[in-house]
Every structure is written in structure tokens, then in C-alpha cells.
Symmetry: C2
Subunit: 417 residues, 2 copies
Amino acid sequence: MEADLVLRRARLLTCAPLAEEKPRSGHAAADVGAVADGWVAARDGVVTATGHGDGWEALERSIDARVVDVEGRVVMPGFVDPHTHLCYAGERWDEFAARRSGADYLAVLERGGGIHATVRATRDASDEALLALLRRRIADAAVAGTTTLEVKSGYGLEPEEELRQLRVIARARASAPIDVAPTYLGMHALPTRHADDRRAFLHEVVRTVRIVAEEGLAEAVDAFVEKGVFETEEVRPVAKAARDAGLALVLHADQLNDVGATEFAARMRARSADHVANASADGLRALARAAIPAVLLPGSAFFVGYPPPDARRFVAADVPVAIATDHNPGTSPLEGMPTAIALAVGLCGLTPHQAIVAATINAAHALGRGARTGALVKGRRADVVVLETDDERELAYRLGARLVAQVYASGRRVDAA
Amino acid sequence: MEADLVLRRARLLTCAPLAEEKPRSGHAAADVGAVADGWVAARDGVVTATGHGDGWEALERSIDARVVDVEGRVVMPGFVDPHTHLCYAGERWDEFAARRSGADYLAVLERGGGIHATVRATRDASDEALLALLRRRIADAAVAGTTTLEVKSGYGLEPEEELRQLRVIARARASAPIDVAPTYLGMHALPTRHADDRRAFLHEVVRTVRIVAEEGLAEAVDAFVEKGVFETEEVRPVAKAARDAGLALVLHADQLNDVGATEFAARMRARSADHVANASADGLRALARAAIPAVLLPGSAFFVGYPPPDARRFVAADVPVAIATDHNPGTSPLEGMPTAIALAVGLCGLTPHQAIVAATINAAHALGRGARTGALVKGRRADVVVLETDDERELAYRLGARLVAQVYASGRRVDAA
């Protein structure tokens, strides 16, 4: 066993899988696998071993191996942010002051504001301008401890423009210091041009799903299922096209109203069901049975002002819970998974340890990477965060503090400027 | 006019005083005094001039003058944090998970938990240990843009121990890179030893106020006026002692219940009335008449889980509004004034500009420094923050982002490590 990186004398949180390779729910939802005086070793960007005490000394080390004494600090899996809309131009701060409730948000949408303002600004941005913005946001996320980051398209609406944005995301991904998981958000809002012909638009989306798959531009297809936006039956043909093309399905489900999208997500074997603040008890049961993660997004509840999802309902129903920043310019401009953890604890009622599981191994499952990252276990990517503290609960409570001291993505330090 | 520091090509927010040297209320509450293509010049730590365009070129510059082109970024007064409890040892994260409502908080207090846990840990910490903790917290605040910082004692309860903590604060203050305003929180909770003799305790506090004043250990005396803690009539003799000794009075007023503490604060000409989430309409009118700032503390509302103060009530009633972190280990562990601004906007309903006024000039008034800092005006301390952005509203919305790029306290750069 060889190592080129050893982090030792850590309070080590492995978040190691328990019996099965499944996202965690129920009692396991808060098990971070803490090891006192722990260490983790990696070689070529992959975890080779973990342990406690002096066991690391027995490892064969490469000649330039770095052995870092973290002096009791927390060492844990890098954060996985499974839901972001980072590919955009323009800000909409004026809208924030005017809008304080969920109802208002739908009203803004109907007036052609909201997302449409971002659509215009993003369309008007050149590839290079959009790429520069996206790269800066990815770098900011990495410094804050995110080592796996989903990025959706979705501000094109028109399929051609969605493809352009996905190609920009592909360029950012190719040079990113962290793992970027691209998603084609094909059904975010109906483009104005198709206002009178929803079917034609859906046909185009189906056709685009195939192009996206052929060009390898995304791993999943996403749709915003909500009253006044898209219905589950409109998603069905797109979901089928995604499955046929080998792409996963994810859904913006029951964010503002219960429209049955959570049950639908379970029925369609979605990779995750996101938002779900208003999911019914049936929806929760369906997710639990299918072991599909619910991705809770407290940021948009905080900024839009609707009641945050009650995480305790999901934990009680044995639904695996993940969390994400939902970083986007319209409803959730918050930054960094530590902020998402603090809001998930403060607003949604997760415990700090549940929130850490939700931000690592369960979030990895929400991106189809449950066996690749999200846990410090032999064979997984060496995605590691070192905190400034010896108590990981500070992530939940020291809102605004800079707690992430070091970040390694596939074993490479990425936080230094 | 000579300058040793010029920050130019800024979106300059002066927060300059309007007609009178008073904290801002009503329509003026949102006036940040924005100047396009602005500049600010300082010499020996004091602002010498501000302007726009190339006017700075006419200044006589010292031989080693630094002229910084901020390329359109926001330059604004350093933040003033007028309410913190930074002098403590020990954390109480266990308590956070257990406690989710205001009622629970008072129940915890009655069981001898809550503040009493911090009192024990702080008493048990040596002067040197406490000083090291306090210095680190002051440095963290400075990096986050705070250039004037109130620090209360209050975890001694027993007057002798309060004096020890105030002496530790004095040592931290003497070496601090920013301006520290010490407060003697003499009436935080009744010490156990005095449980059966409140009068004896109050006598001791009165005696201690005189010692504090003689030794120059604090600028103000604070008391927690709340159901089950202290009553206004118990504060009266202490307030009188403070006035006689030349110290200001500040109050934790009507945080969880309306106990008439806000009117009392106005009647006693307090320097500020803090928390005031449950202040009555009469209380607001009294503050407005006396032009006394209400210091709103959204952090404790967020973490304890009680309804946040509705800032719009205060603005409508012409009360000058200030905000603070309330950084403390029991109810508000949040860090940095940008976080307080984001919560004040997201939870209390301030606009971004109102929150900036509340975090600068009005907060300076809340510390009796309304003529010395909090605004970029000739003759004031050169306490300056440069943001990473050209839009100060991002302070309100990019929760968790690192927006503070440079910090100058009395003209000296303090953010670099």
C-alpha cells in the first residue's frame, strides 16, 4: 500500500458506507463514522487506507509523499453540491427586494420577469464571458470545500441555447479543479416563442435529449414540475427519452405546491427529487421505498420567504436526505456548502451530523456517485476537507465563519489561490 | 491637504451625515451617499477628503503614499458591530440541538444551563487562555470588515470575575488592530450565590460600576431586562450609578417579552436599546423621540428560533435602526457583519441599503461614536472596507460569500494575515 498524501492526527469523519451501497436514511442518517486520532492516506488521487493512531507509519510512502499533521482538526469528505444553476449571467437584486413570498414568485414568473431576466442576460453573454463567470463560481465553490459540483443548464429555455450553455459547462468542466456533474435542465420554463405550442416545445426537448447524450454534454435531464410551469405528464416523454439515451432523470418537485411530482419521481426512478418542500406523505413513502434521495434546498426558502422543507418529516419517513446550495441568481444566491449546512440545521431541522451526511455521502448518491466519492474509504476519490476546528458541529452554527482550512480534490490541494 | 492613502475609482458609499449628527431614521435610513467614480483620501489614519473623478490628483501626497485603484469596486465605511459577547471560553453546541424556541431558552436558563455553562467555562479559563480566544475572535471580525467592535463582559456574573474579564478585554483592546469598545454587562443573570438576595447583588453591581469607571474598564453598563431575569426597577440604581460615573447605559430590552424595557431605555437616555424584538408601539415612539438607536440582532432569532424583530415597524416609527452580530456562544454564534446584514435583510425586512446604514453610521451612534467613524467624511477615522464587487447589495444576498476584499482601520490595512 503506497501513499503520496497522508493526513494524520485528525478527528476523521469517514462517512463510510454501512451495510449496503445506499444513501443513508433513518437511524443511519446521522452516522458520520467518526474516528479519534484518525488518518487517511491517498495515492494518485485515490484513498488507499484509513485508520487511527500510528498505523499510517506502516504505509510505503512515495519519495515526495506529503504527511500533514492536522493537530486534531476535523478531516472529512469534500462536500458534494448536487443542485446548482451556476451557468448564468446578470444579477437580479432588484427583484429580491420586491418579492417576499412563494405566491409572489409565481406572479413574477407570469409577468415575464424572474427567470426570463436571467435568460436574456445569459443569452446575451458570449461563450467566453459565460465561461469566465462559471469558472470563477466553480473556484469559489472549491475554496469553500466543494469537491463535486452539479451544474445545470436551464437559462436558455430554447434547446439551441441550452446546448450552447451545456457546451460552455463542458469547457469549464474540462479545466475544473473539482469534479463537475453537468445536467440538462431542459424544462425550466416554457420559452415565450412556444407559449401557444407546448407540444412542439416538448418534441424539441426530446430531440435535444438525444443530442445531449450523443455529445456527452450531460449526465442527467431535469424538469421543473410545478403549478403553472410543467406537469408530470409533460415530463413523461422527456423522461423516457432520457432513459433510452442512458441519462438520469432529476426533478424540481413539489417546491411550492404538491403536484404529485415526488411520487412521479419515484415512479420514474429519478436519481433524486429536489426541493420537495410540499411533497405529500405518499411522496415521501415512495422515495423511501425506492431509496431515492430528497435534495432539500433551504436557500430558496430563506430568500423567497416560503416555509422551509421540514427535514424531520423526511428523516422520520426513512427518506435519504441530501442538501445543496441551489446557487442561482433568482432565488438562492447563497454560496458554499457550509452555508447550506447551517441553513439546513437552522431552518429545516436537520441535526449537524445529519446535515454533514446530507452534504457528503447522500449528496454523492444524489449525483450517481455514491460509490465514487462522499466518503473516506479505500478506493474512493481522495476528496477531502480539513476544517479549522476539532468540532464539525461548528459547520452548522458558526454561520459566516471561514471553517474550511484545506481542500483536496482527487488528492490535489485546490483551495490555495 | 496631504494624503498617505488614496482609494480611487470606487463606487464610494460615504454614509455621510445629513443635516444633523444624528443616527438615521425614516427616509434617511436608506441613504448610503453613493458616489460614482469616487475616491477617499486619508492621512495618519484620518479621512482628509473625498470626491469623484480626478480630484484626488490635486492632493499633496506623502512620499510613501499608497494610491489604490479599486477598479470600480465598492469602498465603504468599515463595519461597526455594536453588540457582542466575545469574551468567553467553551462552546455549547449540545444545547443548540435541544433548544428550538424562545420559551425553551428561558427554561434552559432556569435549569442552570445556558449562560451558566459559559460562566463556568469562562471562570475556569486563565487570563492568558481567555485573552488568546478573544484576540482570535477580534482578528476574525477584522478580516470580515469590522473596524469598530463592542465587547461585553457578562460571563462572570459575580462582580469580581466580571472585573477580571474586563481587564482581559482591556488587554485585548490595547493590542487590537481595530477599535474595541468595552461594556460592563453587570446584570446578565443573577449569580447562584445571590439567588436569595437580589438586593445584595445589585448593591455589589453599583459598587462595581464605580470601580469600572475609575479604572477605565468600560464605556457603558449593560443589563438584561427580561421576564425572570432583571426588572427595570432593579436596573434603575445601576443606571444612576453609571450616569454618575460618566458611563453610558445600554439594555438588552424586550427580547422575548415586552416588559417595558424599551420605554425605560428611552427614559433613562440609554445609548442604545438592543434586541427589542417585542418592543411595544410606545417603546418605539419613545426611542424615535429620543433618537436612540434600536440595535436589532437577527442572529439570536435565527438560532433560538423565535420570530425575528420586524425592522419595518422600527423604520416606519422613525426609530434609527442599527444591527449587530450579537456574537455569543449560546444564542448567536454567527460571524461577521456581512452575515448580520444578510440576516437583517432576509429575516427582519430591512432593505440592503438600510442594512448598510444600520451596520455603519447608525451602529457607530449606538456606540457613542457617531461623530468619529461609520462614515467616510473629512475628519473621521479612516475605517474603510473595499468589497470584491461593484454592487453593495451583494452583502445582503450572497450569504456565505467572501465579499470583503480589503480592510483599513485608522488607515492601516488589517485584513492581510
